[in-house]
Structure formats: C-alpha cells, structure tokens
C-alpha cells in the first residue's frame, strides 16, 4: 500500500473484487483439504436434528468470512502486518478444513463460502487492521458460544484450540495497532 488513505471508490472496488476472488480461491483450497469435494448443487443444510453439525456450520460460515477478509486485506498491508496476514490466512484455512472434517464426522454437510462478502470500506492500513481485529473478535465470541453446543469432546477441544489461536491473532493485530495485546484475563471476543 503506497498511501494510508486511498480513494474510497477504488478501495471499495478492489476489496470487493479481491474478496470475491479470495472466497473462490479459498473454497478451492478448503475443498482440496477436505476428504470430499463440494459442488454448488449440494445441500447446505445439515441433517435435521444434527445439532453438532448445525453449530459447527455456523462457525464455518464465520471462518469463510475471515478467510475472505484476510485474502482481501493482506495485499494492502506492509511489513510485519503483511507477514502476519499471510500467516493468519493460512491458519484460517486450516481451521476451516478442521471444521469441515468435524461437520462431516457429525453427519452434516459443510456450508460452502458465499460468492462474495461485504467487507466494508477501510480507507487506511489502520482501518484494515481494525476490520480484521473486529472480525476475529466476532468469530471468537461465536466460537466460545459454540463450544458447549457441541457434544463430541474432541470437537470441543478443537474449537477451543481454534479460539486460542484466533486470540493470538488478535494480540498480534493489536500490537500492530499499538494497542494493548492482552486487554482482559478472559477472552470473550467482546472486550
């Protein structure tokens, strides 16, 4: 990024375009990581009564958003934040892959990513970092709610392990924003 304050119109266009491309690319990667391929004609609704799969699919939806956000935002970050963005994108893809496996194990069908995501209109590096921080927080809050909602102990542990990694992302993003990296003793996604 050559400027901290880009023209909003071009940025909006770029983010939308890149976001859509990112989702398409991420979907391919996720499908490649999973044990089965997914076509657009497949149902996106888990079997009735399969509460675990439903809860995990809700978590997966947020992961898809996060993947789109990192894919779209990372090229506009420089230096350390750029390296972090690339790394965190890879980690989000790993999380999505793990969730897909858990959903399939629970007898559900993983939700595919949306064709595009509204990522807002960040006009500066700082605004992009805030967008990522905010999206991570929202995801953490949802995942914490999801942990008790799933019955399989190993799925709970995997979700908690993902929450902990996402909390690390938040700390690094906050360091990049020159903010307190550990603002509270209990990570809720709402601090």
């Amino acid at each position: 990024m050559s400027s901290e304050d880009l023209a909003s119109a071009s940025r909006r266009g770029l983010l939308r375009a890149t976001g859509a491309a990112a989702v398409a690319g991420a979907a391919g990667l996720i499908a490649a990581c999973g044990s089965t391929s997914h076509s657009s004609s497949q149902t996106t609704v888990a079997a009735p009564g399969n509460a675990d799969a439903d809860a995990l699919n809700h978590a997966l939806d947020l992961k898809h958003y996060m993947i789109a956000a990192y894919t779209a935002a990372t090229p506009y970050l420089g230096g350390r934040a750029h390296a972090a963005g690339k790394k965190f994108l890879a980690e989000e893809l790993s999380h999505a892959s793990a969730l897909i496996s858990l959903i399939q194990k629970a007898g559900g069908t993983p939700n595919p990513p949306q064709a595009s995501y509204q990522l807002g209109h960040p006009r500066s590096r700082k605004a992009i970092l805030r967008l990522l921080d905010s999206a991570e927080d929202k995801m953490i809050a949802t995942f914490i709610d999801t942990v008790p909602a799933v019955t399989l102990p190993s799925a709970r542990t995997t979700l908690a392990s993902i929450v902990a990694n996402d909390a690390q992302h938040v700390s690094v993003l906050r360091l990049s924003l020159h903010e307190e990296p550990i603002p509270a003793p209990f990570v809720t996604g709402r601090e």
């Binding site: 790394k87 942990v147 008790p148 542990t157 902990a164 990296p181 209990f186 809720t188």
Partner: protein, 216 residues
C-alpha cells in the same frame, strides 16, 4: 479453605498429576479417578482404555486450579528475581494479574461445585517438585537472566493451555466450558506476548501454529 500441609500437598499433587496426563504417569496418584484411565477387568485380564470413569466437573477443575496456582507462583518468583528490564517487568506483571484473576474465578467455580481449592504454593521446593515432574529441567532453578526466565514462563503458559484443553474435553457444565475456553485463549495470548518480548516482530514465533495444543 486452609488445609493442613499434608492434605494440601496431597490434593495438589493428585490434581496436578491428573493434569499432567499420561506423560507424567509416574506421578499419577493411585485411587484418583481418571477418565482416560487404563483398566484391567475380569479373569481374562482384558485391558480397556477409554472414558470408562466419568469425572465430576469439580474433579476436572481441581488440577486446573492447581496448575494456575503453580503458574502464578512461578511468575511471582521470576518477577522477584529482578532480572527484567522495566518494560518486560510491566508486561509480566500484567500477565501475573491475569493469572490471579483466573485463579479467583476458577476457585469460586470449584467451591460452587462443592470442591476445595488447594492453597497456593508458598515454597520453591514444592513448586520445583511439580515442575520437575512436568519435565521442566531444573525446576525454578537459578533465574539468572531475562532470556531463561521468559522461556520458563512460556513453558508455563503451554502447561496451562494443556490443562485447560484437557479440562474442556471433560467438563459438562456449559458455563465452565465457556470459562475454560476464555482462559485458554488468554493463556495463548500470554504465550504470544512473551514471544514478542523475546523475538520482537517475529510472527512465526509469536503464533507457532493454527491449533493451540499446550503441553502436559
């Protein structure tokens, strides 16, 4: 809540033995229910491994509180050693304050479940005994320099992560599952901050991988 030293020691020892899991099987106390225990049954001597003995939430929380107390004690010892620069000292004090908040909250939950929290560590020799059982070479040992102290604290964070993740696989109460998840996320953040103190700007070290696993 004060216990006689032998009782406190026994409780803590048992609790931490469970938290250590099979890696520290040598210190696992007999007679303590373990959900992942290996049992031999019947005249055939068939050995089964699995979740055959369910632990209560209080039993699951006990070693977690014990491990948090160990962590807080180690942080205090390191801070008292006076090897840190003012910047690192402040960051470490923030983490210790958060560990103490974990202890307060988790102990309250344990009491609510009818359990009794162990009393905090007061002797280095007690902490050393547990640390060495958890494969911390030399225990608290000589806290000579900043680097070694931060490494020790990072390892403590991994131990705490492992204790919480293990608990999350066993806890039943939704509120406790959420609480333990909130805490393990905070412990992971501590690890990231400690790594930043040691290797500023190195994101690969600050966030080692996509899944926080902990140790123990």
């Amino acid at each position: 809540m004060r216990l006689a030293p032998s009782t406190r020691r026994e409780l803590l020892w048992h609790g931490l033995a469970i938290a250590a899991g099979s890696a520290s099987g040598a210190i696992a106390a007999p007679g303590v229910a373990r959900a992942d225990s290996t049992t031999t049954t019947g005249a055939t001597g068939t050995t089964t491994t699995g979740e055959s003995v369910a632990q209560s939430d209080a039993e699951v929380l006990l070693p977690v509180v014990g491990t948090e107390m160990l962590g807080a004690f180690v942080y205090q010892q390191v801070l008292d050693a006076g090897v840190f620069t003012p910047h690192i000292q402040r960051a470490t004090e923030t983490i210790l304050n958060q560990e103490q908040a974990h202890i307060t909250k988790l102990s309250a939950e344990l009491v609510r479940l009818g359990g009794t929290p162990p009393t905090p560590f007061s002797k280095v020799s007690d902490a050393d005994e547990v640390l060495i059982a958890h494969h911390f070479p030399g225990g608290l040992g000589p806290l000579r320099n900043q680097h070694d102290c931060i490494i020790l604290l990072a390892r403590i964070e991994w131990l705490l992560e492992g204790a919480h993740l293990k608990a999350i696989s066993k806890l039943q109460t939704p509120r406790l599952l959420e609480l333990s998840t909130q805490v393990v996320a905070n412990e992971a953040q501590h690890g990231t901050v400690l790594s930043e103190l040691l290797h500023p700007g190195d994101v690969d070290k600050a966030v080692p991988g996509p899944f926080v696993r902990g140790t123990g």
